[in-house]
Amino acid sequence: MPIQADHELSGVTVFLDPAGLPVLDLPRFARHRETLVALYSAMVRTRTFDAKAISLQRTGRLGTYASSLGQEAVAVGIASAMSDEDVLLPSFREHGAQLWRGVSLEEMFLFWGGDERGNDFAVARQDFPVCIPVASQFPHAAGVALAMVQKGEPGVAVAVGGDGATSKGDFYEALNMVGIWTLPAVFVIANNQWAISVPRVDQTRARALADKAVAAGIPGEQVDGNDVIAVREAIERALVRARSGKGGTLIECLTYRLGDHTTADDASRYRADEEVSSHWSEEPLVRLRAYLVAHHGWAKKDEEALLHGCRDQIEKAAEAYLATPPQPVRSMFEYLYADPTQDQAAQAGELGDA
């Protein structure tokens, strides 16, 4: 009498199909041109940032960089649903979410350029920096959510990780904590089908990553992660639920990593070009643009103005980044403890006048 994962997957939430045709009534927020343009613009901005970052890396002016090409809707969808009082705990591929939250382009370049000042966000000051050890941000999110509860704050902690992250024990332990304490946390999985070279099917035999919510007794759901409207709608529902004291949700966004894992990776070693090109037809910008063109009179000149504006902004930010002198060498000692230690003082001395 085995229990199998025999419940029906309730289906993947999607509003706009790859061609930009609505397959469901759009949620209220998506009826406003302004909102849709903002979402679209944020995705374009993200993609433009991405291209610039890669070109800076290729020319030795940025460090190893993780492109979010093809996943812009996940990041933008998440952040656009969030309020200021919420806290974002991103992995390393949510550039679009960070930008929407107010992290500046220059800060982003600084971080990926190997400078801690890129994490000293001028706004979104409660948001966490990019998390490199996969899945270790999920317990942080449980902790942030716990702090919100204790302090009676209305916020929700929103952590994002990849499909690979769902195999880690910390993801699971944190999910279980969210369940047990009914914490206001939303865990988002950006399932881009690959963890470096390991495809989704080799990551877990769970039918859906959203199914893992069952192990913690909280709801899980799948959304089309290339439909920014679907992502935002699902996150909004989860945020409302969390804010009303009903606890956490696991949301799996189905998307695809169109680029290499990072600039240090060569995906052609392990996946077929045809697979990648087949996914280009589903990417998130095209479909929203098509919808804007068809329903909101988005014209060529709008598109050009947007692109031009983005490029301009990003070029300026890149220039500012490139012109930023490194921190003084002694800065490496200045932020470790609130008060520098004797050892550090002695060791800083070894640096001489650098």
Partner: protein
């Protein structure tokens, strides 16, 4: 002034911290109604409510990771790991996050958490219940590591740890939980967590120890005194950052040093102390620096445990050895 045991002093400090700061929160396995397996949190959930003194599921990684998140968002979590042997799953969060968050964000987010754990051997506990892992933690920049050796120091150091703006690992020598009583005033006075304590003064040799080894070192010092050898006894108390100054001054005076710890010899914290002295006090040294430590083997199951743990006899042997050095 009431006399109390170390476990009572710890409970007193926790209770005061909960009372004085609404942001203090305690969580861990069995810290609630059970009051912790050693009773450190006995009565606290009843007194301060189950939302401030919380039982967690059995999840050391999440306990540490949650503490990081909660601390960064304004709480002062005091998390308990039930035994140091079960701290390993928490190390990733300590080394990769707690210790770095301030530095990574140039001070924007900070991590004022305390991770408490009963520490060390000597109570004939089962396997994996007697570990001494302080050296691993003391190697991690950005952490503080504190180990008290008496009820009063436990009280004052724990309060300091909780109030400190940075992450502190607080190891409690479980062998001492109920072994000593001393007067402890619940006056809310913290002790400095960047200073070693000179417990007794002498002229001939410096003994450096911490935790339960203070008892052994003290006994050795008593016996030495009878033989006319007087010792400085330093309780390190704060292991990271290390108060090198106090140790160096003492050794500059005595010229001889014996370091005692329960953890295995190789790459134990005693090595750092000896290395520091070898570098900075070489000309004062009248004899080689000796370490009396646990052996480089797994602590045997408890039938032989006593043979593994350093004791006054082994310390005396080392002291005689350095005294006789010519």
């Amino acid at each position: 002034m009431p006399e109390c045991t170390m476990i009572e002093a710890i409970r007193m400090a926790l209770s005061r911290a909960l009372k004085e700061d609404p942001d203090v929160i305690i969580f861990g396995e069995d810290v609630g109604i059970d009051g912790g397996v050693f009773r450190a949190t006995d009565g606290l959930t009843q007194r301060y409510g189950a939302s401030r003194v919380r039982d967690t599921p059995l999840s050391e990684t999440a306990i540490a990771g949650m503490a990081v998140g909660a601390a960064a968002h304004g709480l002062r979590p005091v998390a308990e790991i039930q035994f140091t042997g079960f701290l390993y799953p928490a190390l990733d969060q300590l080394a990769n996050h707690a210790s770095r968050l301030r530095n990574r964000t140039r001070g924007r987010l900070t991590c004022p958490l305390v991770l408490r754990a009963p520490y060390g051997g000597g109570i004939k506990a089962p396997e994996h219940h007697s570990e001494s892992t302080e050296a691993m933690l003391a190697h991690i920049p950005g952490l503080r590591v504190v180990i008290p050796s008496s009820p009063a120091r436990a009280y004052g150091l724990l309060l300091a740890a909780i109030r400190d703006p940075d992450p502190v690992v607080f190891f409690e020598p479980k062998r001492l939980y109920r072994a000593i009583r001393e007067p402890v005033e619940d006056d809310g006075m913290a002790l400095p967590i960047n200073k070693a304590v000179l417990l007794r003064e002498g002229a001939d040799v410096t003994l450096v120890a911490w935790g339960a080894m203070i008892t052994e070192a003290n006994e050795a010092a008593d016996q030495l005194a009878e033989m006319g050898i007087s010792a400085d006894l330093i309780d390190l108390a704060s292991l990271k950052p290390l108060d090198r100054g106090t140790i160096r001054s003492s050794v500059e005076k005595t010229g001889r040093c014996v370091i005692v710890h329960e953890a295995p010899l190789t790459a134990g914290l005693g090595a750092e102390i000896a290395a520091d002295l070898a570098e900075h006090c070489m000309t004062s040294l009248l004899a080689p620096i000796r370490r009396v430590t646990g052996f480089d083997t797994v602590m045997p199951y408890f039938r032989l445990e006593a043979h593994y743990m350093p004791d006054a006899a082994r310390i005396l042997k080392a002291v005689h050895n350095v005294m006789e050095f010519a």
